[in-house]
Amino acid sequence: MTDTLTIPSRPRAFRPATTEPTVVKGALIALCLAVLTVLLFAPLIAVFEEALRRGWAFALASLSEPDAQSAIWLTLTVAAIVVPLNAAFGIAAAWAITKFDWRGKAWVFTLIDLPFSVSPVVAGLLFVLMFGANSALGAWLVASGFPIVFAVPGIVLATLFITFPFVARELIPVMLEQGRAEEEAALTLGASGWRTFFTVTLPNIRWALLYGVLLCNARAMGEFGAVAVVSGKIRGQTTTMPLMIEMFYNEYLSVAAFTMAGVLALLAFVTLTLKTALEWRYADQLAATHRH
């Protein structure tokens, strides 16, 4: 038996100390892909598969029914009211919080975030309690022909509550980072307040504003729980698209339910695409947590 020096045919690949072994890497990537497939991608495929089970024509026909049409219009109307109001609030709150020194900022900041920790159902309940026929105010409103609950204003209020923090949360960190120097320079040069806002502030925050508006819109169009409670689900009158999905689904109109779900899923694609595009192109003008 002779001692032979065994030389490995190939030197072992060098692995930096700050990375994991290839096996671990592969396993972790596989795990992530598996979980995301089972949780995210499969349901998404299922929506379109179920919608097109009986062909395109059948699916599209279900969308042209009067109830479906009025649900689509209502959802668009509610979003068209809620999103601008939310944007106005977000800009005002961010301006007051970032451009001035005052005590109580931290409190206001917490209160703006409060709707995130309240169940959508409770959000709906709040407005039923305030404006429902069981309260004095609600009874008077119904009597004077301006009902809020089981009508469009209630849906708008509940959606405003649910989406309340969206725009403000995007703008406040960005405007804090940008400081006040540019606005102060504009004012020193004699610009009016509004001119300063439109020519200096707004261009600086436009992408962050769009980002917030995008998320706000997605949530406003998709909100279910809060709207379900305040709307009364009157067919053709107070039924938004998500509520219509539930109605179709409970009536075993599977194709109609999944077709409407497919429309909202397409909207979600658009939202994600625009959002990702903003994150890639205008990362430097968004809140730090979205830069990746």
């Binding site: 992530c32 929506v47 609030f89 005590r103 995130f116 959508p120 409770v122 606005e183 004012l187 909202l264």
Partner: protein
């Protein structure tokens, strides 16, 4: 002289204080504060703490509250662990389709909950793609059981931890990990003793957000849950049922119970976070 709250500290040339502060306070009051105040007033003054306790202290309500918080905790714990792994994979590794995956993580934010609810039910129902396979191989039903609620809540809370942890991983200085390796720590030890403690505060923030979201979740759960009283009936559903019975006091009592438990949990997480920051000696 200390400044009074909600008044300007220093004179400033910046315009729009009255307008912006006015809009902010008005909308905050009309949309959030007054409605919340009405709920609390209706519960504590109108109905009374004793009456509310009587509503809540019944087996059906207790089991709904217990189910909501148990399922939310389980789903958020899953999302805590998986979210850190996914954030790590997305920041540190290269693989085809990575940017697509990164963008897809936000799908639960963009997809309406009712859509998620019927889609998850379609595949996890006993006759669905995954539901039938799982039932045949393990004999477990997913949809219309508590397991289905977990899946819906995991879906809803998925992005939170990923999105809070991702920026922190990006900013980790590799030199810290190198130092640990130089001192003889194995990679595993470096990860558990150096990297994970740095991620803890952000991961906890994400966990709290996911928990708050999934405790109150309604839209995606009711389709997949089966909604059997005492078994798979979540607390938000019970509020809806009480409202449909025009039992406003009952709905208010359950809502206040939910809010109280949520805020207690969020406060506890906040305290853990402060403790973990202090332990890290960070800012």
């Amino acid at each position: 002289m200390t400044a009074r709250p909600f008044t300007l500290r220093n004179p400033t040339p910046m315009p729009g204080w009255g307008l912006s502060f006015g809009i902010m306070v008005t909308m905050l009051s009309v949309i959030v504060l007054v409605p919340m105040g009405v709920l609390l007033w209706r519960g504590f003054v109108g109905f009374g703490a004793g009456g509310m306790w009587e509503v809540v202290n019944r087996p059906r309500v207790w089991s709904a509250l217990e189910l909501s918080f148990r399922a939310a905790l389980i789903a958020s714990l899953f999302n805590l662990v998986f979210g850190v792994i996914l954030a790590w994979v997305l920041v540190r590794y290269r693989f085809p389709g990575k940017r697509l995956i990164d963008a897809a993580v936000d799908l639960p934010f963009a997809l309406p909950t009712a859509v998620a609810g019927i889609a998850l039910t379609a595949i996890y129902a006993p006759n669905g793609v995954f539901g039938s396979v799982i039932q045949d191989t393990f004999g477990i039903r997913v949809a219309y059981t508590e397991l289905g609620i977990w899946i819906a809540l995991i879906f809803v809370g998925l992005p939170f931890v990923v999105r809070t942890v991702q920026p922190v991983i990006e900013e980790i200085d590799r030199e810290t990990e190198e130092a640990s390796a130089t001192l003889g720590a194995s990679r595993l030890r470096t990860v558990t003793h150096v990297v994970l403690p740095m991620l803890a505060p952000a991961a906890l923030t994400g966990f709290a957000l996911a928990l708050a979201r999934s405790v109150g979740e309604y839209g995606s759960v009711i389709f997949i849950a089966g909604n059997l009283p005492n078994v798979t009936e979540i607390a938000p559903l019970l509020i809806v049922i009480r409202l449909e019975e025009f039992d406003y006091d009952g709905a208010v009592a359950i809502a206040i119970a939910m809010l109280t438990i949520s805020f207690a949990l969020l406060l506890a997480i906040n305290l853990i976070q402060i403790w973990s920051r202090r332990r890290m000696g960070a800012v």
